[in-house]
C-alpha cells in the first residue's frame, strides 16, 4: 500500500484544532478548542471533535487513548479550550478508571512556549501550565520518568533569561524529527518561532499571540525521501513575527523552510497577518506578508480555521484578509472550516497526503456512486 498521511482541520469557530495522523499511526495535535455545547451562537451544530479524536487516536498497552505530540501554539482559550477536560493531566501511572471512562487523552510529548509558565492564563491555559510544570519538574529533578511517555516535554523558544536547557528546549532554526521518543521517517518539523524578541514583546504587551509557536511540518512518504508536502502552522502569530521569519530564513539560507503547500491562516484569518489592526487604519498589506505567501507551492491551499468569513464585524475572521489570500492562491484554494460541506453542521477539512501531494477529501455522501460506476448485474447478452 502506498504511504498516505492525513491532516484534519476541525471546524471549531474561531480557534485552532488540528490533527495530523501519519501513515505509521503517529499522531500530532496542534491546539484545541473542544466545546461541550451542541450548537454555537449562530445556530451552527458544533462538530464533536472529541469523538472524532478518540476514533482517530491510538490506544496504548493499557487501552488508553493517547496522542504522540500535543503542540500548544500559545495558551489562549481559542487554542486550548477543553484541554483540562479532554486531555489527561498528571503522571500516566495514575491514570484511573475514571480517566479511562472519560476517555482522557494522554499526551506522549507536550510542546509549549516559555509563556505558558505565566500565572495570568485562561482556565485551560492554567491546566496546560500545571501539566507543563509537572513535566518540567521531572526533567529538572533528573528523573528518569521525564523521558517516558506521558511525561515528555519540550519548550519551544528560549527561557525568560534567554537561555536554553539541553534536552528541554527546541529553538528557531532547529529541525525536529523525534516525537514521543521515536524518530519518525515521515515527519520533521522546522521551528520558525517564537523568537527571543517576540517572547519579550509578548511579555511586555501581555500578548501571547506574538509568542506563538510557528512550525513548518515536512511530510515525506519514504525514509530520507523527498518532502512531499509542507504545512505551516503559526497559531496567532502576527505580521511582525512573519517579517522576522522571512528575514531570518533568507539570511540563514532557509528559504525552503518558507515554502508551503498548506498554510493555516494565522489568528483565524485575522488581518494581523497582513498589518496592524484595526484594518481600517492599516489597509495596505505588508510587502513581507505578501512575499511570504509567494513561497506557496503549486496548488497550495490556505485554511482559515474560523467562523464563516463575511464582510462584517466582529473580526477576526477578516474578509479583507481572505481577499488577500485569495489574490495569492485563487478562490477555490482558500478553505474555511466553518463552511465545509454544510454551513449549519460543518465537518473537518480532511487532507490526505501521498506521493502525489495533498488532496482535500470531498466525498459528498458515503453512498456509492452506484449505477454509474457498477456494471449491471445481468450479463450474457454480449
Amino acid at each position: 500500500m502506498a504511504v498516505s498521511h492525513k491532516i484534519k482541520f476541525y471546524p471549531v469557530d474561531n480557534g485552532d484544532n488540528v490533527l495530523l495522523k501519519l501513515d505509521d499511526k503517529t499522531t500530532v495535535i496542534v491546539d484545541c478548542q473542544m466545546k461541550d455545547c451542541e450548537e454555537n451562537t449562530d445556530g451552527v451544530t458544533t462538530y464533536d471533535v472529541k469523538k472524532d479524536l478518540i476514533k482517530e487516536l491510538n490506544k496504548d498497552s493499557k487501552n488508553n487513548p493517547y496522542v504522540d505530540l500535543f503542540i500548544n501554539s500559545h495558551p489562549h482559550n481559542d487554542h486550548c479550550l477543553g484541554f483540562e477536560k479532554n486531555f489527561y493531566c498528571g503522571s500516566p501511572d495514575d491514570y484511573t478508571d475514571t480517566n479511562r471512562k472519560n476517555e482522557e487523552i494522554i499526551i506522549g510529548e507536550l510542546w509549549v512556549t516559555q509563556r505558558v509558565f505565566s500565572n495570568d492564563l485562561c482556565c485551560d491555559g492554567g491546566a496546560i501550565r500545571r501539566e507543563a510544570k509537572r513535566r518540567k519538574k521531572l526533567f529538572e529533578d533528573n528523573s528518569a520518568e521525564s523521558s517516558k511517555y506521558g511525561n515528555r516535554l519540550h519548550i519551544i523558544g528560549y527561557n525568560e533569561d534567554d537561555t536554553t536547557v539541553d534536552g528541554l528546549h527546541y529553538v528557531p532554526g532547529n529541525t525536529v524529527s523525534t516525537f514521543n521518543g521515536k524518530t519518525n521517517d515521515y515527519l520533521s518539523m522546522f521551528i520558525h518561532a517564537p523568537f527571543k524578541s517576540d517572547l519579550i514583546r509578548s511579555k511586555a504587551d501581555e500578548d501571547e499571540n506574538a509568542a506563538s509557536i510557528v512550525v513548518q511540518m515536512q511530510l515525506r512518504t519514504q525514509k530520507n525521501g523527498d518532502i512531499k508536502s509542507r504545512i505551516i502552522i503559526a497559531g496567532d502569530a502576527d505580521h511582525y513575527v512573519f517579517e522576522q521569519i522571512l528575514e531570518k530564513s533568507k539570511k540563514n539560507n532557509n528559504k525552503d523552510k518558507l515554502e508551503w503547500d498548506l498554510f493555516l491562516a494565522p489568528h483565524h484569518c485575522s488581518w494581523s497577518f497582513f498589518n496592524d489592526r484595526p484594518y481600517e487604519n492599516n489597509t495596505e498589506p505588508k510587502d513581507y506578508s505578501l512575499e511570504f505567501l509567494d513561497y506557496k507551492n503549486a496548488g497550495a491551499n490556505v485554511i482559515a480555521s474560523s467562523k464563516k468569513i463575511e464582510n462584517k464585524k466582529p473580526n477576526p475572521p477578516h474578509h479583507s484578509a481572505k481577499e488577500e489570500y485569495i489574490r495569492k492562491v485563487g478562490d477555490s484554494k482558500f478553505k474555511n472550516t466553518a463552511i465545509n460541506k454544510d454551513e449549519k453542521a460543518p465537518e473537518p477539512l480532511i487532507y490526505t497526503i501521498d506521493d502525489n501531494g495533498f488532496k482535500l477529501e470531498k466525498s459528498a455522501i458515503a453512498a456509492s456512486v452506484g449505477i454509474m460506476t457498477s456494471s449491471t448485474p445481468r450479463a450474457g447478452r454480449n
Partner: protein, 739 residues
C-alpha cells in the same frame, strides 16, 4: 451567461419552470446538495431540451493531471425524449481536448464527457439524479489522477461512426497496399478486412502506416480529410499530401479500370499510439478507418481534374490538372469504428482468463468432449490435437456441439473446422482415428509427448488403462480422465499428478472404492433400463443413454473449468460432481489419492493399496494375539496381467480366530460382496483371501495355508481367474499368486 456555446443557449428559468422530468430531478439534486454542486442555473432551450449549468467542486490533488481544475463548469442537457443519458459537457474554454472517455463532436468545445459505460435503458429504472452528478465529479476526479481509463480500453475517444470494420486479429499482416473490405452480411454496415479480392465491393481500399502519436490526438469528429491531415502524418508528410500523391499515382489505373471509378475510397491508417508522451514504445496500434463520401469519379470530376469526353463514353484527365493537396483536403469522409476480430487472445480476455497457448491432446469428442472443447475455444484456452474416429449421427445432435450440417461427417474434423473458424486461427488439429489403434504411431507419440496434459474424455476404460500403462515411461505427460456416469448426472475427473506417481489406473481403482465408501454415491453406477436406449449400430446390442443435454452442459462447464484448474496445479485428484435434480445444485465429492506399492512382480504384477494395508494392519492389531483375516477385493487387468488389491471384507462374526489359525466365516460376506459389485457395476471382484500371523511369525504360508490356497486356486482357475493369498506379519506382508 458566461459561455456562448449554442448547446446551452435559451432562457434562464426557475427550477419550477422546468418541464422535462429528468432535468427537474437533476436540478433539484443540484439545489439540494450545495456542498460540491455550486451555482446552479437552469436553461430552457428552444428545441425543448433543458440544461442544468453547475460548477462542480472536485476532489483533486494539488497538481491535478490532464488539466482538470478543482472547480469545473458543467452543462447537463436533458432531452424531452428521455431515451438516453443526459448529455454532459465541460464548458471551460481551455478544457483539455482529446481526453479518454470524451465523445467527439464536430466542434472542439464544449467537451462532451462520457460519464457512464452503462446502457441507459438498463439503468433508467433506477436512475438517481444525485448519483448521476456524482458520476460526473468522479469522472473529473479520476481523470485528474489519470485513473479513469482502463488499461484495456482504446486510447482514443469515441465518436459516432458510420459503421464498423472488423480487422483481422493478426493485423500486423495486413498489406496496406493490397486489401479489400466486404460486408459481413447483405446491406450491413459492418465490414471485414480481407486479403481476397472482392470485385463487387463498393470501395477501393488502400492504407498507410502512419507516424507515432500520443493518446488524445483525435480532438474532434473528422468531417473532411483536412480534419485528419492535421494530425496524421506518414513519414513526416501530412495525410492530404500523401493521399494526393496516391490519387495522382493511381489516376491512370482508375481510368483504365473503369469499374473503379464508381467506387468510394476506403482508407485505413495504422497509427502507433503511446499512452503518454514520456513512453518510449507505443502501447498499441490504433486503426483509423474512413471512407470518402463520394466516388473516385465524383471526386475527380467535381474538382475538375478529369472530364467526360464529348460523347460521354469515357473520362479523360484534363491537361495540367492533378489531385492537389487542397482538393484532397476538402473530400468529405465518414469514419468507421475498427474492431479486432475474435481470436484466442480476445477470447481469453473476454472470459477473464489468462491467455494460454499450451499444447494439449484430447481423446474423444463425444457429447462431453465436444462441449468441453467448445468451451476451451470460446475461452481461448490451449492448442489442441483431438482424436476420435466416430461419425456424427442424427441422435448425437441431442447432446453434441456439432449441428445438423455435420451429420455423417467425422466428429473431429467437423469440430476442428468449426472451432478453428470460430477463433479465426488454428485452435485444434483433428486426427480421425481410433486412439487404441493408432496410439503407438510416431506422430501420435510425438504430440502426446509435447502436450501439457493428455485429456481423455473417450469414456472408455480401455483407453484409460492404455494411457495409464501401455507407454511405459515413453511419455511423461500427465493424464487426466473425465467421464459421466451412465445417467449423465455425475461427472468424474481422475487426474494424475504432474510426476505421475498416482497413475490413472490406480485412481480408477480408488474411485471404485470411494463409490462404495461414500453412501451418497452408491447409485452412481446404477444404470436402469429407464435410462437406456438400445441402438442397432456398431453391434446388435449397443446401448446409448437417455441423458439430458442441460445436465451435460452444466457438467461440461465444470469439467472444462476443473481440468484447467487441475492443469495449473501439480497434484493428483479424484472428484465426482453430482447434479441434484430437485434444486439444480451441484455437489462435489472428493477423496484424496493414496499410495500403492508393488507387492509381487513376476509374470503378474500385484499392486496393493496402502490404505488397505493400513486397514488390514489395524484389524490384525485389534485381534492380536489371535489371527484374523478376510476377503481380498480388487480388479484384474487380464490383458496386462495386473492385479489391483484395494479393499477387503473383514472377518465376519462367525469366523474362527485363534492364536495359531484363522478360518474365515461366511456371515454376510456374500451380501456385502454383491453390494460392492452392484455399486461398482461389477468393476470390483473377488481376488482371494488374506489372514494375519501372530507376532514374531514369518509371513511364509503354513502347511494349512498352502492347502487353503490350493483349494482357492482350483476353484478360481476354473473360471479363468488368478488367485491371491496374502499373509500379514509384524512388519511385512507376503502375497502368493496362482494362475
Amino acid at each position: 451567461m458566461k459561455y456562448s456555446y449554442k448547446e446551452i443557449q435559451g432562457s434562464i428559468v426557475d427550477v419550477n419552470e422546468l418541464d422535462v422530468a429528468r432535468a427537474k430531478s437533476i436540478a433539484l439534486a443540484a439545489l439540494n446538495n450545495p456542498a460540491y454542486i455550486l451555482n446552479p442555473v437552469f436553461v430552457k432551450r428552444i428545441d425543448g431540451a433543458e440544461v442544468i449549468l453547475v460548477t462542480l467542486d472536485i476532489e483533486v490533488y494539488q497538481n491535478p493531471l490532464n488539466g482538470v481544475e478543482e472547480q469545473e463548469d458543467i452543462a447537463i442537457i436533458c432531452h424531452p425524449e428521455d431515451d438516453s443519458f443526459p448529455e454532459v459537457y465541460a464548458l471551460r474554454n481551455n478544457f483539455q481536448l482529446g481526453l479518454p472517455h470524451t465523445n467527439l463532436r464536430i466542434e472542439d468545445y464544449p467537451v462532451c464527457l462520457c460519464v457512464t459505460e452503462q446502457l441507459f435503458q438498463e439503468v433508467k429504472h433506477r436512475f438517481n439524479p444525485f448519483e448521476f452528478i456524482e458520476s460526473i465529479r468522479q469522472w473529473l476526479t479520476l481523470t485528474s489522477q489519470d485513473k479513469l481509463h482502463a488499461i484495456d480500453q482504446p486510447l482514443e475517444p469515441f465518436f459516432v461512426s458510420k459503421g464498423g470494420i472488423i480487422v483481422p486479429s493478426n493485423k500486423d499482416n495486413i498489406d496496406v497496399n493490397n486489401f479489400y473490405i466486404t460486408p459481413v452480411a447483405p446491406n450491413s454496415n459492418l465490414f471485414r478486412i480481407q486479403k481476397e479480392k472482392n470485385a463487387d465491393s463498393a470501395y477501393f481500399c488502400f492504407g498507410f502506416h502512419a507516424d507515432e502519436q500520443v493518446s488524445g490526438f483525435i480532438r474532434r469528429e473528422p468531417q473532411v480529410i483536412k480534419d485528419l491531415a492535421d494530425f496524421i502524418f506518414i513519414k513526416g508528410i501530412d495525410l492530404s499530401t500523401a493521399l494526393s500523391n496516391c490519387f495522382n499515382n493511381l489516376a491512370q489505373f482508375f481510368l483504365e479500370e473503369k469499374e473503379l471509378l464508381q467506387k468510394k475510397v476506403a482508407i485505413c491508417c495504422g497509427i502507433p499510439v503511446k499512452r503518454y508522451s514520456k513512453d518510449i514504445e507505443p502501447e498499441r496500434t490504433e486503426e483509423l478507418f474512413f471512407v470518402t463520401k463520394k466516388t473516385v469519379r465524383e471526386i475527380a470530376m467535381e474538382s475538375n481534374v478529369w472530364e467526360e469526353t464529348l460523347d460521354k463514353k469515357s473520362i479523360v484527365p484534363l491537361l495540367g490538372k492533378h489531385f492537389t493537396k487542397e482538393i484532397i483536403e476538402k473530400i468529405g469522409i465518414e469514419t468507421y469504428t475498427t474492431m479486432i476480430d475474435f481470436n484466442r487472445l480476445t477470447a481469453a480476455i473476454y472470459n477473464n482468463e489468462i491467455p494460454n497457448k499450451d499444447k494439449f491432446t484430447l481423446i474423444g469428442v463425444g457429447a462431453l468432449g465436444s462441449q468441453v472443447l467448445s468451451l476451451y475455444a470460446r475461452t481461448g484456452y490451449g492448442e489442441w490435437n483431438i482424436i476420435d474416429h466416430d461419425l456424427l449421427l442424427p441422435h448425437n445432435l441431442a447432446r453434441h456441439a456439432l449441428g445438423r450440417d455435420s451429420i455423417g461427417f467425422s466428429k473431429v474434423e467437423k469440430l476442428a473446422e468449426q472451432l478453428n473458424f470460430l477463433v479465426g486461427e488454428e485452435f485444434c488439429t483433428p486426427i480421425k482415428s481410433d486412439f487404441i489403434k493408432v496410439h503407438s504411431d510416431e506422430n501420435v507419440i510425438s504430440f502426446l509427448k509435447e502436450s501439457k496434459a493428455i485429456i481423455d474424455i473417450s469414456t472408455s476404460i480401455a483407453v484409460g488403462r492404455l494411457l495409464a500403462r501401455d507407454y511405459a515411461d515413453k511419455i511423461s505427460t500427465r493424464r487426466i480422465s473425465a467421464f459421466l456416469n451412465p445417467t449423465g448426472k455425475d461427472l468424474v475427473i481422475l487426474a494424475e499428478d504432474e510426476k505421475r506417481r498416482h497413475r490413472l489406473d490406480f485412481l480408477e481403482m480408488e474411485y471404485y472404492r470411494f463409490l462404495y465408501k461414500n453412501e451418497n454415491l452408491h447409485d452412481h453406477l446404477i444404470f436402469n433400463d429407464d435410462f437406456k436406449i438400445r441402438l442397432n449400430r456398431n453391434s446388435c446390442r449397443e446401448i446409448s443413454s437417455r441423458i439430458n443435454q442441460t445436465d451435460i452442459s452444466m457438467l461440461s462447464s465444470i469439467c472444462a473449468k476443473s481440468i484447467r484448474k487441475i492443469v495449473e496445479h501439480r497434484d493428483a485428484s479424484i472428484a465426482v460432481w453430482r447434479i441434484n435434480d430437485s434444486d439444480c445444485t451441484i455437489q462435489q465429492y472428493t477423496t484424496a489419492p493414496t499410495k500403492w506399492e508393488k507387492v509381487y512382480s513376476n509374470e503378474w504384477k500385484i499392486y496393493l493399496n496402502n490404505q488397505l494395508l493400513d486397514e488390514m494392519r489395524s484389524l490384525r492389531t485389534q485381534k492380536l494375539p489371535k489371527e484374523t483375516g478376510g476377503v481380498l477385493l480388487g480388479s484384474i487387468d487380464m490383458e496386462r496381467k495386473i492385479i489391483y488389491i484395494y479393499d477387503t471384507i473383514a472377518a465376519p462374526e462367525d469366523s474362527d480366530e485363534t492364536t495359531s489359525s484363522f478360518e474365515r466365516g461366511i456371515e454376510g460376506v456374500l451380501e456385502e460382496y454383491n453390494k460392492y459389485r452392484t455399486i461398482t457395476d461389477n468393476q470390483i471382484q473377488y481376488l482371494g483371501e488374506w489372514h494375519s500371523h501372530p507376532k514374531g511369525c514369518s509371513t511364509n504360508p503354513s502347511e494349512l495355508d498352502k492347502k487353503l490356497f490350493a483349494y482357492l486356486a482350483d476353484k478360481l482357475l476354473r473360471q479363468g481367474y488368478p488367485t491371491i493369498m496374502g499373509i500379514l506379519g509384524d512388519n511385512n506382508c507376503g502375497f502368493t499368486i496362482s494362475f
